[in-house]
């Protein structure tokens, strides 16, 4: 076991209590609520062994870090990453989280896990040993397996490069602040943060994070270009056969082709094509874009990710208990915390705040387990390909690897579970003074509820779809954006105008946003920065 402490002299203190030898005699992994590094390590090893042998999990190596509540709050406010560049908005989030925590409005998470290789798991120092075991199973095995095997994470994020990239980003932005002033850097970051949602590639795979050396090369080249810039070249007469026909349709089509339009990733487009940005400003936009892209898969797999981790910890803890490795008292504490985590009040309960992804995920995965081992006739009807196959492990591993929330629900939500949750659909038209119950959990409603629920987890469909459609770089340079309006849902006006102003900052010229009805193709309204004012 490797115990690494950040200050020397601590190492000797841990792992020499008499208690641990007693517990190993009785066969328990731990007793009492205090933890030390030796017990943590032994618990981890026992849990990992069972996880690999019984659930066939496949994980990144684990690095466990013990942190205090203050540090957990810090991590909360920097979007859960161990290092992050500086920005006032993180200070605002910190104040907010701190306030909630101080007032007891919200407890802190017991753990925080980072999709990196090695997988970093933060454990809170206040946790009891039973809780540490639970959290180890949840994060170090459940989440870890999901990160390593789910296709979204495999394709879209680069677990081994993220930490070094963030380190670079933090340093780069600090250097920019020194050279160009905090205010200038902040202006770019504010604008880029406003477009984070529109700063991801939803459909094509983003280019791999270039390695440190390549980035260094790019930067050196930029610096060289800055140094060797000579204004004289600008004064040379242009060649006569330059493109004049910019007004024709052919010209527009040609222009769109060269700029790769339409483009859904606004930040990418601005970074590459803005005429007013300096190289360092482009690099900052790129940093924000990379961070947004990194979190995109996580947002698409909330139910699955939490469900997988919850299923894993619940199954593993029960197995440990069955083998007599955990005492009844500890198991009781674990179950109490477990049931708090998966608490799901009904829609009319004052505590209701949406569907709890832990609860839904766990229920669906346990349902899969049930269907593959003891299916009913209905299940055989709905899930012919795996009902009764008896191999729930492989079925689950396959689901974890190949789905995101939307497709997972669309494939695996069973009528039995819909009845258990008593799902129903409430149709909400803004023009009506009342909701209408559209479907309930009955024979006619199952398909609709399943499709509706899946739809609500489809980020691509639920976020405003805004794209760059046209810009005439040789003409008025007005950047034309298009918002595809689905089901008549418009943009919130105040924040739309503010966001457009931010785009103007980055683009430097006029920006206009047209709302286009997705069904009819008609223009609903058009807003341009010249109408907004400063």
């Amino acid at each position: 076991m490797a115990i690494q402490t950040s200050k020397s002299g601590q190492t000797s203190k841990f792992g020499q209590t008499g208690k641990s030898s007693q517990t190993s005699q009785s066969g328990l992994l731990f007793s009492g609520s205090d933890w030390d590094f030796k017990t943590l390590s032994r618990a981890y090893e026992a849990i990992e062994a069972i996880a690999i042998e019984e659930l066939h999990l496949d994980i990144y190596p684990v690095q466990m870090e013990i942190i205090s509540s203050q540090q957990m709050l810090d991590a909360y406010s920097s979007v859960g990453m161990p290092l992050m560049y500086r920005h006032w908005s993180f200070g605002k989030h910190f104040l907010y989280q701190e306030l909630l925590y101080r007032k007891g409005g919200r407890g802190l998470a017991y753990e925080l896990v980072i999709n990196s290789n090695p997988c970093i798991v933060y454990l809170m120092e206040e946790n009891t040993m039973a809780l540490q075991a639970l959290v180890t199973a949840h994060a170090a095995l459940g989440h870890n397996h999901f990160f390593k095997n789910n296709h979204l994470f495999r394709q879209w994020t680069d677990a081994s490069a993220i930490l070094s990239y963030l380190d670079f980003a933090k340093g780069y932005i600090a250097r920019c602040e020194e050279r160009h002033g905090v205010a200038a850097v902040e202006a770019i970051l504010d604008a880029a943060h406003a477009l984070m949602e529109q700063g991801v590639f939803r459909y094509r795979r983003p280019p791999k994070l270039s390695s440190e050396r390549q980035r260094e090369g790019v930067r050196e080249r930029l610096e060289y270009e800055e140094r060797s810039y000579n204004d004289l070249w600008r004064t040379l007469p242009r060649s006569k056969d330059g493109t004049k026909a910019s007004g024709t349709d052919l010209g527009i089509a040609e222009r769109k082709k060269t700029l790769n339009l339409p483009e859904e990733n606004l930040l990418y487009f601005l970074e590459k094509n803005s005429l007013v940005l300096e190289p360092w400003q482009r690099e900052i936009i790129r940093i924000v874009r990379v961070v947004a892209q990194y979190f995109y898969p996580q947002r698409q797999t909330q139910v699955m990710n939490e469900g997988c981790a919850t299923f894993v910890h619940y199954t593993l803890m029960n197995m440990l208990f069955d083998r007599g490795l955990i005492s009844e008292g500890a198991m009781l504490e674990i179950l109490r915390n477990h049931s708090n985590v998966i608490f799901q009040p009904g829609f009319d309960d004052p505590r209701f705040s949406g569907i709890n992804p832990y609860a839904l995920g766990l229920d669906m995965m346990q349902d899969i387990q049930r269907i593959s081992t003891e299916p009913t006739a209905e299940d055989r009807d709905w899930f012919p390909d795996f009902a009764g196959n008896g191999n729930w492990r492989e079925t689950l591993l396959d689901a974890w690897a190949n789905h995101r929330d939307e497709s997972f629900i669309r494939q695996y939500l069973s009528p039995a579970l819909m009845r258990k949750w008593r799902f129903f659909i409430l149709a909400d038209a803004a023009s009506e003074p009342h909701y209408e119950v559209a479907s309930i959990h009955n024979e006619r409603g199952y398909e609709k509820i399943r499709a509706g629920l899946a739809q609500s987890y489809d980020i691509g469909a639920s976020r405003p779809d805004i794209q760059v459609v046209d810009v005439d770089l040789l003409g008025d340079r007005q950047l034309r954006l298009e918002h595809k309006v689905k089901n008549g849902i418009m943009l919130e006006e105040a924040s739309r105008d503010a966001a457009l102003r931010h785009i103007r900052t980055l683009w430097g010229y006029e920006v206009s946003l047209a709302a286009i009805d997705a069904q009819t193709g008609g223009t609903l309204n058009e807003r341009s920065t010249s109408q907004i004012g400063e």
Partner: protein
């Protein structure tokens, strides 16, 4: 096999920088919030923490988001009890933010706490106080170390030699540490015996016995130290606040119709600042509010700032009232009396003479310091400049000003003008502290 890293010892407050950036960004809004608090709150409350709500301007994080009040959407909810398809459910009341069930408090609506330091920073900002003054006002209290018995631990400079030696002596007696004289006596005896020519066996035995005794005593002396660490005592010091007497601060203000919102706001900031000064120097400061029109009365803070009263302006009534209260409650040998008067300068001409008389005759004798501020329109400020020409009260007080060094008067057109009034008051401070 996992790697463990103990991060608990890492530097904390990683978010401090971000918090400061946020406050800087929200500065204008926070200042406005503090100013509102000063306008509506109590004078003594400025010197504490403040809860402020999240400023809306400048700290928004806009993004493209769907408008809640348009279009058609579906909510998929758990926990159906009795609904059947086609049932209609009325939407929750208008203005409740409506269409999405289970809404949570938005992040932009929360309140957070500014520390005392941050509040004072914001308060001082447009008063243009010199930095040294700001620092001085922000300091909590001055302490002076006082002897307070003895302690077994401390720094070497604080060793109390007398006490240490007494302990050492007691211990030496208790443990029967051989004295130097005993050793000397035996050595002398030994020398005498050894000096004698070779003699009988008894003499040799005696010499051997004496040698042994000498050795034993020397060993004992080595084991029992002369001064042992357990003997050492240190002088103990307690940090005691510098004894300050009581102070009372009289706030006098003209509340006749001519004093508008702006005038009252400036006056209030002037009173707040004086209170901060006094609070730093005295353990206990009380505030007495006297308002006057053509008659004066003592009122509470609320009434002082917010109730208007109609009537003429007779300043001397306030001075008489002040004199009466001093005589009744604040004997000048027990209390340091400070007075601050704010007015727009209007007064009956005949009354001004009376004011001079009162000030000269009674009040200035009792007061440590009397500050008069005349709140004028910003447009007038450059007309009046520093001329002695002015309102009737100004001219009257100019006379007082020449006679009494502890009288201070100034015209205030905006917040930055307030501090100069206190300059003299502050300049005296270091001297006072030394003498305390």
């Amino acid at each position: 096999m996992p790697i463990f890293v103990d991060r608990r010892l890492n530097p904390k407050d990683k978010s401090l920088g971000n918090r400061q950036r946020f406050l800087k960004r929200a500065r204008e809004e926070l200042k406005r919030s503090i100013r509102d608090r000063i306008r509506t709150g109590k004078i003594a409350d400025v010197d504490s923490e403040h809860a402020v709500s999240m400023p809306a301007r400048g700290t928004g994080e806009p993004s493209f988001s769907d408008a809640k009040d348009s279009g058609r959407r579906q909510h998929i909810l758990p926990g159906n009890k009795h609904f059947a398809p086609g049932d209609r459910v009325p939407k929750p009341g208008q203005g409740g933010g409506g269409s999405s069930p289970g809404k949570t408090v938005s992040e932009d609506e929360f309140r957070f706490v500014l520390s005392r330091e941050e509040v004072l920073d914001l308060f001082f900002e447009d008063l243009e106080l010199p930095d040294m003054v700001k620092l001085n006002l922000k300091e909590i209290l001055s302490f002076k170390p006082r002897r307070a018995g003895f302690a077994a631990t401390g720094s070497p400079t604080n060793i109390n030699v007398g006490r240490t030696m007494r302990n050492s002596h007691g211990r030496r007696i208790a443990l029967r540490r051989p004295k130097q004289e005993e050793l000397d006596a035996i050595a002398e005896q030994l020398a005498i015996l050894e000096a004698e020519p070779q003699s009988a066996a008894p003499a040799r035995q005696r010499i051997a016995a004496l040698r042994e005794e000498l050795e034993r005593l020397e060993r004992r002396r080595k084991r029992i130290a002369y001064v042992d660490p357990v003997d050492i005592r240190f002088n103990r010091f307690d940090a005691q606040p510098v004894p300050n007497a009581n102070a009372v601060m009289f706030c006098l203000m003209d509340v006749s119709g001519s004093m508008g919102e702006r005038e009252k706001d400036l006056a209030k900031r002037f009173f707040v600042l004086l209170h901060l000064f006094l609070k730093r120097r005295y353990d206990r400061t009380e505030i007495v509010f006297i308002r006057h029109t053509h008659e004066a009365q003592e009122v509470d803070e609320e009434t002082f700032f917010y109730n208007t009263q109609s009537g003429g302006t007779v300043v001397s009534t306030a001075l008489e009232e002040m004199h009466r209260i001093i005589a009744q409650r604040y004997p000048s040998n027990e209390w340091n009396i400070y007075a601050a008067q704010a007015s727009d300068g209007d007064n009956f001409v005949t009354d001004s003479e009376r004011c001079i008389g009162l000030m000269d005759g009674q009040i200035m004798r009792l007061c440590q310091y009397f500050a008069y501020v005349e709140i004028i329109d910003e447009r007038e400020s450059h007309i009046f400049g520093t001329t002695d020409n002015g309102t009737s009260l100004w001219r009257a007080y100019s006379v007082v000003n020449q006679r009494w060094p502890n009288f201070q008067m100034s015209r205030i057109a905006n917040a930055a003008d307030i501090y100069p009034v206190f300059r003299q008051l502050f300049a005296r401070q270091p001297v006072l502290q030394k003498s305390a």
